[in-house]
């Protein structure tokens, strides 16, 4: 599945227009706990989260995150979007809840990351 398919499924809004959405997404993980995300991400992973602070962007310096979906209408501040732009990290907002977003992506064939 590609990032652009994910944007369509989640009726998402891309926060970084220049971001490359033709990226293949192998798997996903959903959590609002940083340590949980760090513990479970060992391969390129799409992150679904309600966290919008700078540490969630900094995570991408440590582990391989292919993009971040901010669920339930949450939106990071401009300076945080800028941090992601510097890292070429795609950011997508969706109004859907974490549960609904995850369910739709799972049904569409996006597997969960290996833990």
């Amino acid at each position: 599945m590609y990032l652009k398919d994910i944007v369509t499924i989640l009726e998402g809004e891309t926060l970084i227009p220049s971001a490359d959405l033709a990226v293949e997404v192998p798997c996903a993980f959903a959590s609002d706990l940083i340590s949980d995300i760090l513990m479970c991400t060992k391969e390129p992973t799409l992150l679904l989260t309600g966290l919008t602070n700078n540490q969630v962007i900094r995570l991408a310096d440590m582990i391989d995150i292919v993009g971040i979906i901010f669920v339930r209408g949450k939106r990071p501040l401009d300076e945080i979007v800028e941090m992601a732009r510097e890292r070429k990290l795609p950011l997508i907002c969706t109004k859907m809840t974490m549960y609904r977003s995850s369910g739709l992506l799972f049904n569409a064939g996006l597997r969960s990351c290996k833990i």
């Binding site: 609002d32 706990l33 940083i34 340590s35 513990m39 602070n53 969630v56 900094r58 310096d61 440590m62």
Partner: protein, 177 residues
Amino acid sequence: MQDFAAVRSEMGEFWNIRSGLEESVKGFFSAPPEADVVLESLIPEKDFNTAGKGSAEVKNLLKRLGVDPEVLRRVAVAAYEAEINVAAHSRGGMMDSYIHSDLIHVVFRDKGPGIADIAQAMVPGFSTADDMVREMGFGAGLGLPNIQKNADALHITSSAGGSTVLEFLIYFANNER
């Protein structure tokens, strides 16, 4: 009669060494060789703008040195968790990274208030994180277990009221499984 146990500040220590590496780890700590490269960074208290920069810097340097990506991930995760702990739970401290030809040794020293019971702090799920720290997405109580899982050797010394020193070793030869 005075209760000495209550008066004396008990120094706690924790060791975990990946099985099979006991000899090399003991050898390293009994006579630490001089590092090829040393990186230092400051970790200010509750400064979540800065927190994580030191770990990212170390990861980038090791990447340039050609370290295996899976080992890089383990170093980054362990360093980041320890760096965040100093920012989140202490009055601030330092992170010193010593890079050798075959391993990295990272030492975190903070200004207290220390960990009264290290064994309890190591239990997955145990956390004393305050509301501000939890709001950032921390406080799962998984940071120390995560460091233990990713490091080849982990050593913590601390006491209630004192400072905490956490150091870990990760070999560049991938020793995980």
